[in-house]
Symmetry: C2
Subunit: 300 residues, 2 copies
């Protein structure tokens, strides 16, 4: 007989897989509903979206949206929109003038298939379509979602984090600097994913604050683990080459704290995320809590 | 004594200058109201916005917004937002992998000052901030503006036109192909500028259709003249090197129709724009009509 623990593990794995399926369906529905422009562009726009991925951000939209009482139909637009934004950021990050990556999730990057100019334009197009999707989904809360998504994705969020990350290459960056990069580059968008779910559900301010607290902590935990995996990871698990951050002389937590220190920091953020989930009244079996354990244990 | 014609010319010139001043003030107010992120990014974001320009798009937001009864305070957000989008498109167009330009409006391009990676991120940031601005301006019509701006700027508009323009380089492109590029690459955003003004004013559907007809025709006239100027222009007037389209083997109207044919087409679009303005009940002295004559006569 399976132990309760392995039962709960199996339930979580099923939830993860179902999240990927649901997110993929949201993306396909979004692509159907949008005018993707000239056929040569439409093909290139679909390519990075259909290259797979964990679909963490749309799954978080769904997780908090459902937990707080939103209908699925209210969550599909924002879920697709945030994955469009995440995907655009990967396409631009991979460009020769940025991280110069030929492979992403084990397949050739968008610009290596379609050329650098189209790579820039695919990113621009996905970012623009994310906002078109929110406008299209309508509803009284869509404008608020536009603001939350734009702030998380723009200069005071992800784009700002990218600039800091580039500026930190080859420089001595203090720990506060590394944490700021993580907060902007990674955690802001994960926080926004959780918040979009809460907005769709019409959650009150107190509830939204707790949801954001969870998302920010989860994002910081995610990025701390990412820094550890760059040192300890296996390229077959990661689907990318480990040691890349060190080779590029990127500012990482491991550089400042050592591997054990970075791991301890990841655990502290995990506990902060659990605390926020409990504040929302979510029990230990809730996927928001299991997700924290899974992120801590992840190998890729 | 000045002739009525030179009086009206002087009034138009004053209107143009006042449009630039007003647009610059909207941009500054927008920059003040937004979080521009890390200081190194904030500086780079301001750079292309403050490099000057005709401010045609925000002036069109104002022109139709006022003509149809909107308050100035309702027009400032959308006016700044559309100039953010136009400016992002210039920053990305100038990148080495796109048109590879070192000069724009007579000053070094963003990526030549701040590096290519920051050039990509400044464009991404400006595009994202445009939607944040609309969300921030609030109001019942802001979500509709998000949709109109996104459609005009994205794959079914400007970004799509860029992809077609790149694909047409060095190819035989038929006239319909060139016109499609012009419609998407240039006219869609000019049409959206006019429509944003109409939306801010709460104009009815019939009125909005006429406003869009004007904007589309004006944009196509603008681009037809641009093609002519690339052949006949003077580099001192243009602030850029003429003959660049031909050198890059770009698809142009002049290539397909000859200079005189392209000029005739510009005049046909000008007449279409005038007709739309008359349909809106605007008299011959209205700036919407004078703007058409000015675009036809422009040298830069």
């Amino acid at each position: 007989m399976a132990s309760p623990e392995s039962d709960s593990h199996a339930a979580f794995e099923a939830w993860l897989r179902e999240g990927v399926r649901w997110s993929d369906a949201c993306l396909q529905e979004a692509l159907q509903s949008l005018d993707l422009g000239p056929v040569e562009l439409a093909r290139a726009l679909r390519y990075p979206l259909e290259a797979g991925g964990k679909r963490l951000r749309p799954s978080l939209v769904r997780l908090f949206g459902r937990a707080l009482g939103a209908q699925d139909s209210e969550l599909q637009g924002p879920a697709a929109a945030i994955e469009f934004v995440h995907t655009y950021s990967l396409v631009h990050d991979d460009l020769p003038c940025m991280d110069d990556d030929d492979l992403r999730r084990g397949v050739p990057t968008t610009h290596s298939v379609f050329g650098e100019a189209v790579g820039v334009l695919v990113g621009d197009g996905l970012l623009t379509l994310a906002f078109e999707l929110l406008a299209q989904s309508g509803g009284p809360r869509a404008l608020e979602m536009v603001g939350v998504l734009a702030r998380a994705a723009g200069p005071s969020g992800m784009v700002g984090g990218q600039v800091l990350d580039l500026a930190a290459e080859g420089q001595i960056t203090d720990l506060e600097g590394v944490r700021r990069i993580h907060r902007l580059k990674t955690a802001a968008l994960i926080e926004a994913a959780c918040e979009l779910g809460a907005i769709a559900a019409g959650a009150d301010d107190g509830c939204r604050t707790a949801v954001r607290r969870y998302g920010l902590a989860l994002g910081l935990c995610f990025q701390a683990i990412d820094d550890c995996l760059d040192v300890t990871g296996d390229s077959a698990d990661l689907g990318k080459t480990p040691g890349k951050d060190a080779a590029a002389d990127k500012a990482t937590l491991v550089q400042g704290l050592g591997l054990e220190g970075a791991r301890t920091e990841a655990e502290a953020w995990a506990e902060e995320a659990r605390e926020a989930a409990r504040q929302l009244g979510l029990g230990p079996d809730h996927m928001a809590l299991q997700l924290v354990d899974w992120l801590l244990a992840r190998r890729s």
